[in-house]
């Protein structure tokens, strides 16, 4: 299959992007300044991320749709306010995670943002589960960009007036050059920011205007170091079909109201795990010194027993040291537990720590 290009491909080239293939797309991994500078610029100023490879699924419907989606997602969708967003997952009956996603209630139904590598399969699963009762559009005519970092609100508001009044995890329709754009105050870097859904024909112009106001394009490389410092999961690494939301330490994203009733796909397992506990759980891991423990690094306890594995690990430019997360047997998941990481045949000391590594500065708001 030919690799796809996003509508910002030319702009990426103009900004000297290095490209990698990611989920079937040619995506920028970094630009000329490099991952560390791009990471710091996002934390201190404002960075723009092309996330147009991600799926934008619009499902049209009213109250019936909310009810039907509640059979799939562990969310209280009937009480979700218009233009408000929630983080959730698509699970199978064993509560294995097939994707993690953001769902937003719009005036016409719901908008669900899906991972690029999962979107086609998600569409198939959801279409089947919803028995083709609703119009569903996985919109290829819209691009998605994120603008993240402390100066983003000011910069974006200069171009699209009114966005600065959005609360965290809420959105609305705005106008850019007479085009309807849907903007939510959200992101995946641990910084305040926005995600902007805009038609493919206008994304290049909008992005160039944001760059002119002082923001910069940031590649997938820095996106990964930013989200890991913020303690956020990456599907296919920290989350997959063999892990449940309880094991992934994401039970905060499951509605308490829905747990008490239980009638969603995977609810039996979720309720059982919440009551009885889990055998493995996702934790933050801080290596001592500078050694970097990457994905698949084995974790040992102090008696040299293999107790888990790293699922994401890199160097955190804002932490100025290595950061990692992974799954360990539950009894070793307490904060400050000493563990050892096997890197290139040698065992290096590390400790279990709380997440995030880097403190968030999201804009607060009612939710």
């Amino acid at each position: 299959m030919e690799t796809k290009k996003t509508s910002l491909y030319q702009l990426h080239q103009d900004c000297n992007a290095k490209f990698v293939e990611f989920a079937g797309y040619q995506m920028p991994i970094q630009y000329s300044e490099g991952i560390v500078e791009e990471h710091k610029f996002t934390r201190n100023h404002s960075g723009i991320f092309d996330v147009s490879h991600m799926g934008q699924l619009f499902i049209y419907g009213g109250e019936d749709l909310s009810k039907d989606l509640e059979k799939i997602f562990p969310l209280d969708l009937k009480n979700l306010k218009l233009n408000h967003s929630k983080y959730s997952f698509l699970m199978d009956k064993d509560a294995g995670i097939h994707d993690d996603l953001i769902i937003t209630k719009t005036n016409e139904g719901f908008l669900i943002i899906l991972n690029a590598a999962c979107k086609d399969n998600d569409f198939k699963i959801l279409k089947e589960l919803l028995e083709e009762k609703y119009k569903m559009v996985l919109d290829e005519n819209r691009s998605l960009i994120a603008i993240q970092g402390p100066k983003s609100s000011e910069i974006l508001n200069d171009v699209i007036n009114g966005v600065k009044d959005l609360n965290f995890m809420s959105g609305n329709w705005f106008k850019f050059e007479n085009q309807k754009v849907y903007i939510t105050r959200s992101g995946y870097t641990g910084e305040d920011g926005f995600e902007i859904s805009i038609t493919n024909d206008f994304v290049d112009q909008l992005t160039r205007e944001l760059i002119n106001k002082g923001s910069k394009l940031i590649g997938l490389g820095a996106r990964d170091t930013l989200r890991l410092e913020a303690g956020l999961c990456l599907y296919g690494h920290d989350l997959d079909k063999d892990k449940t939301p309880v094991e992934a330490n994401l039970k905060w994203a499951i509605s308490k109201e829905r747990i008490s009733k239980g009638d969603f796909i995977g609810s039996d397992i979720i309720i059982k795990q919440l009551n009885d506990g889990v055998s493995k759980i996702r934790v933050g891991i801080k290596p001592e010194g500078r050694i970097i423990a990457r994905e698949k690094t084995k974790i040992f306890n102090q008696s040299d027993v293999h107790i888990g594995e790293i699922t994401s690990g890199t160097f955190g430019p804002s932490v100025n040291g290595p950061v990692a997360m992974g799954y360990v047997e539950n009894e070793f998941s307490k904060k400050n537990t000493k563990v050892f990481l096997e890197v290139r045949g040698k065992k290096h000391p590390a400790s279990i720590c709380s997440l995030p590594f880097y403190k968030k500065s999201y804009v607060k708001g009612v939710n």
């Binding site: 991994i29 970094q30 490099g34 991952i35 560390v36 500078e37 490389g221 170091t225 500078r290 050694i291 970097i292 990457r294 890199t314 160097f315 430019p317 290595p322 290139r344």
Partner: protein
């Protein structure tokens, strides 16, 4: 002091008497991106031509550092272990990796001069 020679694994080597200083090339650092971790061989250890003698890691991945000649490690550059970003800043001078007391000077003859290396680097990265 002899001219600087280069290996196909993108190391440079400068011989002064029977002691060689070894590091990685500017071209290598450009391919690796931001270097955030460096591991060096132990002082006193012996290394064999084309064998692993260290590791560098960028934010993206880990890469082995090879030694272009055989010898005994007589010195290592702690500065780049403490601040690996120095490798990106000055790879072919102050950010050297290790020094070897070389075993066989003729091994130097198998390496490239600057012109040949630049050509090689250009071809392999195209």
């Amino acid at each position: 002091m002899s001219e600087v020679k280069y290996s196909k694994e993108h190391e440079w080597i400068k011989l002064d008497g029977d002691v060689a200083t070894i590091g990685i090339t500017k071209h290598a650092t450009e391919m690796l991106g931001d270097i955030v971790f460096a591991e060096l061989p132990e002082k006193g250890s012996s290394v064999e031509k084309d064998g692993t003698a260290g590791v560098v890691e960028s934010t993206k991945a880990a890469s082995d550092v090879y030694t272009p000649v055989s010898g005994e490690v007589v010195d290592t550059n702690q500065v780049i272990v403490d601040d690996p970003s120095k490798i990106n800043q000055d790879p072919e001078d102050s950010a050297w990796f290790f020094k070897l007391k070389i075993k066989d000077p003729s091994e130097m003859d198998t390496l490239m001069n600057k012109d040949d290396y630049d050509k090689f680097a250009k071809e392999t990265s195209a």
